[in-house]
């Protein structure tokens, strides 16, 4: 007779509610839904461009307007910044540490480098879009 193995009673569906770190992990992971949403929204935009008619593009733009959309995008932007962009920059020195000779480049340099690059890239995108 084998002994009964001890199985810790941990819920498969709500395990992350036990611990603040796990909750934040799950909140971060939820940004993958935003990535899916905005990727497919952009693909829909491309499909209206492929229709080769200014009216189709104008219809798409009009369909994306309204106070509900403003609130949704504003909340999505804040959520994405605080749970995807900033955490990603924070973990960059751990994911790809930079070593020069014997010394390791301080992590803060890598993080600051990411923020500088992010501001620059965002500025280029706004400039290309004619919003800057």
């Amino acid at each position: 007779m084998s002994r009964q193995p001890y199985v810790r009673p941990i819920s498969k569906t709500t395990w992350y509610m036990r611990n603040g770190r796990y909750k934040i992990y799950m909140l971060r992971e939820m940004t993958s839904f935003l990535v899916v949403f905005y990727t497919f929204l952009t693909i829909v935009a491309l499909s209206t461009l492929a229709a080769d008619s200014p009216a189709a593009w104008q219809n798409f733009i009009s369909s994306q307007q309204g106070p509900g959309m403003v609130v949704f995008h504003a909340l999505a932007l804040l959520y994405f910044l605080f749970f995807q962009t900033f955490p990603w920059f924070k973990l960059a020195p751990k994911a790809m540490p930079v070593q020069i000779g014997e010394k390791k480049l301080p992590g803060s340099y890598i993080v600051i480098g990411h923020y500088v690059a992010w501001v620059f890239i965002s500025a280029v995108i706004f400039w290309l879009a004619g919003a800057l």
């Binding site: 569906t13 990535v35 693909i43 491309l46 492929a50 690059a117 965002s122 004619g130």
Partner: protein
């Protein structure tokens, strides 16, 4: 074989994660601008069509959308596991199928724009 596959999946996840972290805030901000009715000049039909019709524009759009799709697919697979769904084969097939469809749609629409 398994190790080789893992490197590809990890590469797409890391590349897509970096790309979305850098680019998606600006993308969301542009949709926010559109929503408020202040459509930027570069997003008027003529300008955006010219951009998407150019080879540089096509390449940029394809790389961004392709990597984002596969990054999200990989993460959603893990999220399903985190929510207690233990049918990994089924989930993996579903998310990678959607990513493949998204990639094909992106390629098809980009080729159509001229």
């Amino acid at each position: 074989m398994a190790i080789a596959k893992k490197a590809v999946v990890w590469g797409l996840f890391a590349g897509g994660g970096t790309l979305t972290a850098f680019i998606y805030p600006a993308l969301i901000a542009l949709f926010l601008l559109i929503a408020t009715g202040n459509v930027p000049a570069g997003l008027q039909y003529e300008q955006i069509h010219t951009f998407a019709a150019s080879w540089v524009g096509k390449a940029v759009l394809f790389i961004v959308l392709f990597l984002s799709l596969w990054h999200a697919a990989h993460r959603l697979r893990v999220v399903a596991h985190d929510f207690g769904i233990r049918k990994d084969k089924l989930i993996a097939n579903a998310v990678y199928l959607v990513a493949t469809l998204g990639t094909l749609m992106t390629a098809f629409y980009l080729i159509s724009i001229s």
